[in-house]
């Protein structure tokens, strides 16, 4: 963790995205009070909370493992934070009912966690987090234990729910699809630092440095070395010349194809550039609507729009203003 400066807006859904070991979970745990920062301040609702225990921070957290108490029923799990915080006994049942109905788990209240499916567990964990009406909601990869199909619907539900109750939410993930789909803004982290913070389209279209450029997108942005800069362009912007609508403002990049992967909706074309960037390995992503024939071993005229070329400083990897090639 190293000099992170981050602030959220009220009711915002902020995603912390980064590869494993980048410090995103540590940051979340510091905010929760489970770990102590060596320096710096953490504010919640304008108040410094560094010296407060987790329970006094008015936060809720959903763990990757969900951390449901295995010896308690679903009802008791949801009621647990209320009891722990001394909520009047009489109001507990109605609050539990409310939280359960929010996630459609009213029928499961008497079950034990081990009798639930992965998706049901996740809802219980969310209900337990939301029942106490926290001022911040912390989620640590809550979808990573679900299978791929469930994950898509869970993502959708999660976002709807967050919009409805409008609680500031911090969401940690290493999955860029989750991050792009859920976040109002995304903080891309690496090596304990925040590399860029912005809306999904900002971080995708205007990456602040080569790390962000290379981390987002699948396959990631092509980065080739020019004598005095690094030049990046997305595979989906790297098309045969004739596939562009107009020939104006194009930068031509001759391309020799070494391999083609057919993915249904797209084709991934692997190859090396010729000419100015002789030998640089790059990837093109052709949507299935582009009918242009591509054959392995042959050379084609590919091109990128000038506005889609991003420039980075060779030494630091930081973004620099565009300039003519």
């Amino acid at each position: 963790m190293d000099s992170v400066d981050l602030s959220t807006k009220e009711g915002e859904f902020l995603v912390l995205l980064g590869p494993s070991g980048c410090g995103k979970t540590t940051l979340l745990r510091m905010i929760a009070g489970l770990e102590r920062p060596t320096a710096g301040e953490i504010l919640i609702g304008g108040r410094v909370v560094n010296e407060l225990a987790p329970r006094a921070r008015k936060i809720a957290m959903v763990f990757q493992s969900y951390a449901l108490y295995p010896h308690m029923s679903v009802y008791k799990n949801i009621a647990f934070p209320l009891k722990a915080q001394g909520v009047p006994k009489a109001t507990i049942p109605q609050k539990v009912e409310w939280a359960a109905s929010l996630f459609g788990i009213e029928k499961l209240l008497q079950r034990k966690p081990r009798q639930l499916s992965g998706g049901e567990r996740q809802r219980v964990a969310l209900a337990r987090a939301v029942v106490r009406e926290p001022s911040v909601f912390l989620l640590d990869e809550p979808l990573s234990n679900l299978d791929a199909k469930l994950r898509a619907t869970a993502r959708d539900e999660l976002q709807q729910f967050q919009r409805r109750i409008g609680i500031t939410t911090l969401y940690v993930t290493h999955d860029q699809i989750e991050a792009m789909g859920l976040g109002d803004r995304i903080a891309v982290m690496q090596g304990g630092k925040v590399r860029q913070i912005g809306t999904p389209s900002e971080v995708y279209d205007e990456p602040a440095d080569t790390f962000v450029a290379g981390f987002l997108g699948s396959p990631p942005m092509n980065v080739v070395e020019a004598p005095d800069a690094l030049i990046g362009f997305r595979p989906e912007h790297f098309l045969p010349r004739e596939a562009h609508e107009s020939p104006a403002g194009l930068t031509a990049l001759p391309f020799r194809i070494t391999r083609v992967e057919y993915l249904g909706a797209d084709r991934l074309i692997y190859g090396v550039l010729e000419g100015k960037f002789q030998g640089a390995k790059v990837i093109a992503r052709l949507p299935s609507t582009v009918m242009a024939p591509v054959e392995v071993g042959r050379r084609y005229e590919f091109a990128v729009k000038e506005k889609d070329l991003k420039f980075f400083a060779t030494a630091t990897g930081l973004r620099t203003p565009p300039r003519p090639l």
Binding site: A32, G33, L34, A53, P54, R55, R57, I59, A60, M61, F63, Q64, S65, Y66, A67, Y69, P70, H71, F80, P81, K83, A84, Q85, R128, R132
Partner: protein, 283 residues
């Protein structure tokens, strides 16, 4: 081809059966012998021409009657139970928090301390009973069951702390952290979440401590000299033998009753004790 293979398998099976049978008989025979002797008439026992493996005369319950009616055996069982329960309670009070602290709170120095605590389990009564007898005398606990209550946790606490540390380490940290976020202190999370989900670990410790108390011999022999204050493991060998007269029937009955039930109970938990013994030697 098939015949030699089958023969070889048969021979291997026979060897396997032979090994298991031999060791089982070696281990269990004394207890089987206690059981046989319990119901044999003394006149049957004390006749060298009688086949000792069968009942040459009709079985009898006389030895059991003598054991319970004419000796302090029942009292000794009661003493053992009493001391056992108190020691178990003391052990839990000391070892539960200590095990948790070692598992979660103390980090590097806790690891060293944990090994140190475990090593005290290896210090045998034989090394300590001489000064201990003096200390017990100075405390005025000579001849009292309380002397055992004071001393017995010295061998239950170290091992149980070690066992519980292992249990607590296996509990996902997330659970305690969730409880802390949900409104409890670290200690509150320990009481409300960690202890309830460690029931099986606690039960293991209870059985283990109780067995150790039942087995203990040296301290009880050293501290106690009044027959009515003995525990069963010392009372039977010292007070059911009068000079050279052995009441073998009652003696064997007393041994059998105090040995086998606890062993059956212990058997359910044995894998956990072994996990404690082997520390990290297996992955």
């Amino acid at each position: 081809m098939a015949v030699p293979g089958a023969l070889k398998r048969l021979a291997a099976g026979g060897t396997h059966f032979g090994i298991v049978a031999a060791f089982t008989i070696f281990s269990a025979f004394p207890f089987y012998w206690m059981l046989i002797t319990t119901f044999k008439r003394t006149s049957d026992l004390m006749n060298r021409t009688h086949n000792p493996f069968i009942y040459n005369e009709p079985p009898t319950l006389e030895h059991l009657r003598v054991l319970f009616a004419e000796t302090l055996y029942a009292r000794w069982l009661g003493n053992t139970l009493l001391v056992g329960l108190i020691v178990v309670a003391v052990t839990l009070v000391l070892a539960l928090p200590a095990g948790y602290a070692l598992a979660r709170l103390t980090g590097r120095w806790g690891e060293q301390l944990g090994i140190g605590i475990f090593l005290t389990y290896l210090i045998p009564p034989t090394l300590l009973f001489i000064p201990m007898s003096r200390v017990i005398g100075d405390l005025g606990l000579q001849d009292s069951l309380w002397s055992l209550v004071v001393v017995y946790p010295s061998f239950t606490v170290p091992f149980c702390t070690w066992l519980l540390m292992g249990f607590f380490k296996a509990i996902p940290r997330d659970l305690e952290e969730a409880a802390m976020i949900d409104g409890h202190s670290r200690f509150g999370a320990f009481v409300k979440v960690v202890i309830p989900i460690s029931v099986s670990g606690i039960l293991t410790v209870v059985i283990f401590s109780f067995t150790l108390v039942m087995q203990e011999f040296v301290y009880a022999l050293t501290f106690i000299s009044t027959a009515s204050q003995f525990t069963v493991s010392v009372g039977v060998p010292t007070f059911l033998v009068h000079g050279d007269v052995y009441f073998w029937g009652s003696l064997m009955a007393g041994c059998f009753i105090a040995s086998v039930p606890i062993a059956i109970l212990y058997n359910f938990f044995v894998d956990r004790f072994i996990a404690g013994f082997t520390v990290g030697a297996i992955k």
